[in-house]
Symmetry: C2
């Protein structure tokens, strides 16, 4: 039986998991592929460090360039993360005629256009299933499974840490900071949790999903990104009273005037399947013209879920090793020459419904003033909850609006903030009904 | 640009939908594939019949053999359904060296072993994504996306009609017969609804999913099948009281003593995502060793969802037309020579929890007798609800049991039925917790 040889850059959680799964399931994998997959070499930071996997038969090196230069390596698997060294190594591997598999979403979202162009020129594949939603085969589903479709929009819970935090806040009535500290202790969140809770990680993934859906170049710098750090326990509770759940969604929407790329906390009706995706799990809901709505759910991170996606990519490449380059599935779903620039809207042009929460003096006429300010911006109200004044005689008003252009909402909020009756800030969270 | 030519057998709902989607999205599809997909001919029953699609440029014939014999057809798409004529035509197409795409689950479940062997011998592909769960790319996910994994079990809602009926019974308190009549009027259910409500259609699909998961030959005749015709409004309501929903599940489970292949009404905890898959939608939950649980959700039938899957298969084949045959994704996920017979258990060996409902005389000692009969078969009880006697002085007892071997349960039920206090039948519905 033929053997396909891979070299791994980085033997940490995902690298170690990949070696473990390849060894444990070697028999089933070769029964499927008809060839053996062998890890011949791996680059590690510290040659004497502890490993989560056996390393017998694997040449270890602390010089990643060694892996890229090995003549016997067919596929280089990049699992070191970050985006400067990784970019350099991936481009060097491509230049050496190696196929590349990576789990690095930052790398693809930011430098994918350059990397795929280099790979096209050299006739090699760059595969990245593990970069989005961990073990869920979402890249494969969108690139190949939905190939007959025009995608209208997609919505994803694509950051497990953020979803864990929001789920705990809802289920246990806990505060953001408290749950974040626990997530850090459990190892879900990094010591610097900014990538997760500010939505940067989700924006990387959304950028890639949007290119797969719409045939446009990767446009990370045009992605609107808002984190979940300002979501309070109150908002989670009021959302629930209104029949909604708050999720940190990535949304890519094809509109008449352009593409919306946005990551932000979002109220979703609790009856939607995606509103019930809890804890560290991920899900992507895709609305496409022929198939209608499809949803893909699974673990978004972790050693073996990510390894599952890495190995699927390795196998896909192994199957095409002596095939016609022209017939490969294109890296971004569309053939390189067919990828076209599209207008990506700025947030002023987004159109969504809103959840608004404001604290005001408790005196007659306030509600009339608030509703007039909204009406002046053509914002109509779907539901209002008014809470009894607290001991300071502050009244809380919670509203759901119908859909409105974001620039109008910004004007209304500015006007509300200038009112003497307003106490504190105006909380606004977008609402999406996700009628799919 | 190269053109791949297809001939369609059957231009009804799915065939017409396929032509419509291919025409509407021709541009996006060729941007992805790098070639054109052209329908050159179609076989129809009645040349003068009405069509849901334009037929300009398509040679129509009422002799399906004409399609198979055309030299310019690369791929034959079989959409006539049924399993005798379809089998004959598919085998003839293969013999003529044509690749085949089919949406025919009965055909694959019953004759797939023979068909795939013929295709292997001839070096052509037989693809059937549309046969299972309509537009959901579940075959692709299992064959390619989860290729690194050993599948432990899978559970699917894979018949939309049955799920529509159960959803209506729960949401609107309606009776089985009433909803079935509506489903027939809406066109969801056939005039002869046996395939749907008796679970035969689901068993076809489960048979295929099990082979994809476990690398075993298609074993439709070993699939245990129980319909939903005996589910009453009472059971739906009591299940809900207990925190469960009743779904018609297909389950394929890899156990130590063999494979369980079973289709039956099943109580699932209402918190599970799959318990919230409602109406005509389908979903498949797969538990695999590396990735963990993944779930795939979408429309299980309909013209364009099915067309979406048919076209995805056509495109996959188009990509490999001049590739190395050895490197293609195998029809049943595992290479033909690696598919191995496995023990498929009979229902006596299944192990599940149970929901039991019985009506008894309302007199002291009955509950003690009932629980003793269960205890004698090593059946332990998780929950009991006893309902107040009705006007006839009948008492209703509803129980949830812990997991038990089915043969023990059968003995206990036989013993219960022999008791003088029992009125009517014992209703038993299996319970699966689907801890994934």
């Amino acid at each position: 039986m033929e053997t396909v040889k891979i070299g791994i850059l980085g033997l940490g959680t995902v690298g170690g998991g990949t070696v473990n799964v390849l060894q444990r399931n070697a028999d089933d994998i070769s029964r499927r592929v008809g060839c053996n997959i062998q890890v011949v070499a791996a680059a590690v930071r510290d040659l004497s460090g502890d490993r989560i996997c056996p390393t017998d038969g694997i040449d270890l090196t602390d010089k990643p360039q060694d892996i890229i230069n090995r003549a016997d390596v067919d596929i280089v698997v990049e699992l070191i993360g970050g985006d400067s060294l990784a970019k350099e190594l991936v481009l060097a591997a491509i230049a050496n005629g190696k196929h590349v598999v990576t789990a690095n979403k930052a790398l693809i979202a930011k430098y994918g256009n350059e990397i795929f162009a280099a790979a096209d020129k050299k006739g090699v594949c760059v595969a990245y299933e593990a970069a989005i939603a961990g073990g869920i085969p979402i890249v494969k589903a969108m690139r190949e499974g939905l190939t007959a479709n025009k995608v209208a929009w997609l919505a994803g819970i694509i950051n497990g840490t953020g979803n864990f935090i929001l789920t705990e806040m809802r289920d246990k009535g806990r505060d953001f900071a408290d749950v974040l500290a626990e997530a850090q202790a459990l190892g879900y969140a990094e010591a610097d949790p900014e990538f997760d809770v500010e939505g940067i990680d989700a924006a990387h993934k959304l950028t890639i999903l949007a290119s797969l859906a719409f045939g446009m170049p990767l446009s990370f710098d045009k992605c609107y990104t808002e984190g979940i750090t300002k979501i309070t326990q109150q908002d989670v509770t009021y959302a629930e009273e209104l029949g909604y759940r708050i999720k940190h969604l990535g949304l890519a929407v094809r509109g008449e005037s352009g593409i919306e790329l946005r990551v932000h906390p979002t109220l979703i009706p609790e009856k939607r399947l995606i509103a019930n995706v809890d804890g560290v799990m991920n899900a992507v809901l895709v609305k496409a013209d022929a198939v209608g709505p499809t949803l893909y759910y699974g673990p978004g991170a972790g050693a073996e879920p990510t390894a599952s996606a890495v190995i699927a990519d390795v196998v896909d490449i192994a199957r095409t090793l002596d095939g016609n380059v022209e017939h490969r599935v294109p890296a971004l779903a569309f053939k390189t020459e067919s990828i076209t620039e599209q207008t990506v809207l700025t947030s002023a042009d987004f159109e969504t419904a809103y959840y608004l929460r404001l604290t005001t003096e408790d005196r007659p006429g306030v509600m009339a003033d608030v509703t007039k300010i909204l009406a002046d911006q053509a914002i109509s109200i779907e539901a209002i909850i008014q809470k009894e004044p607290n001991e300071d005689q502050d009244a809380t008003i919670i509203m759901l609006t119908h859909r409105v252009i974001e620039s109008n909402m910004e004007k209304a909020i500015a006007e509300l903030k200038s009112q003497p009756f307003l106490k504190g800030d105006v909380t606004r969270i977008r609402v999406e009904h996700l009628n799919a």
